[in-house]
Subunit: 108 residues, 2 copies
DNA sequence: GTCTATTTCTTCGACATAGTCGGAGAAATG
DNA sequence: CATTTCTCCGACTATGTCGAAGAAATAGAC
């Protein structure tokens, strides 16, 4: 059976959720970098997004080209119900594991 | 370079921390099952523990046999400073990604 | 006492899934 | 056609998973 989301999958899904309904590859990468401070390769994001789509946790729609140099079509992502459920499950797991731990570790 | 802890590594480290200084394989497995509700194979725990030891995030000491049938020596684990740092870093990342999200998703 | 059955705990080997990166490719505008 | 933005691909590493074998202890039969 399937045992939940990987660590990076969680981050991607959370970023996606924050940016919805305008979430797309580059934006997701930037959001993760901005919030976590760690640097993220674009390829890592796209690979993960592809896998999440394969697992039917997210769905996509194609946007229109933007009126700026190089502004090609973006592929927008949205979280499906199954994806939301998985995300909640894995975060709940973390929460229950950190509950009551010394401040700084408990997830508040 | 190394990008943090995996999802299961986080759970193992958190369980370890909760059970310290009596943390050992079986106890860690039970703690994760009890708190998260998901079933965990012992082999998965030991493999992860071995890898964490290899990365110098945890250290071990051998206990004495316990006076009960089959009570062989346990290998007790403790979190090293580097392990604690990694754990805090990855949980902080989650926390900053969930901050402000709809209740039930924010890590409290 | 010594065997051996049984229990507890740990390690190993093999494979599946997730994570990472650089570079190639496609699609837009200047 | 040069340049920019965005996405996909291929190859590899690291994590996650499991079952089964192995080691170390006690209990009870004899």
């Amino acid at each position: 059976m399937n045992h939940g989301l990987g660590e990076f999958e969680q981050l991607v899904l959370l970023a996606l959720m924050r940016l919805e309904p305008e979430a797309y590859g580059v934006g997701i990468r930037d959001e993760i970098e901005k919030r976590t401070g760690r640097s993220v390769a674009l390829g890592a994001v796209y690979t993960t997004l592809l896998r999440l789509e394969g697992k039917r946790l997210v769905a996509t729609r194609l946007g229109e080209p933007t009126p700026q140099r190089g502004g090609r079509r973006k592929k927008y992502y949205r979280l499906l119900a199954a994806g939301r459920r998985e995300l909640i499950t894995s975060i709940d797991a973390l929460r229950s594991m950190t509950r009551g731990l010394t401040p700084g570790l408990e997830l508040r």
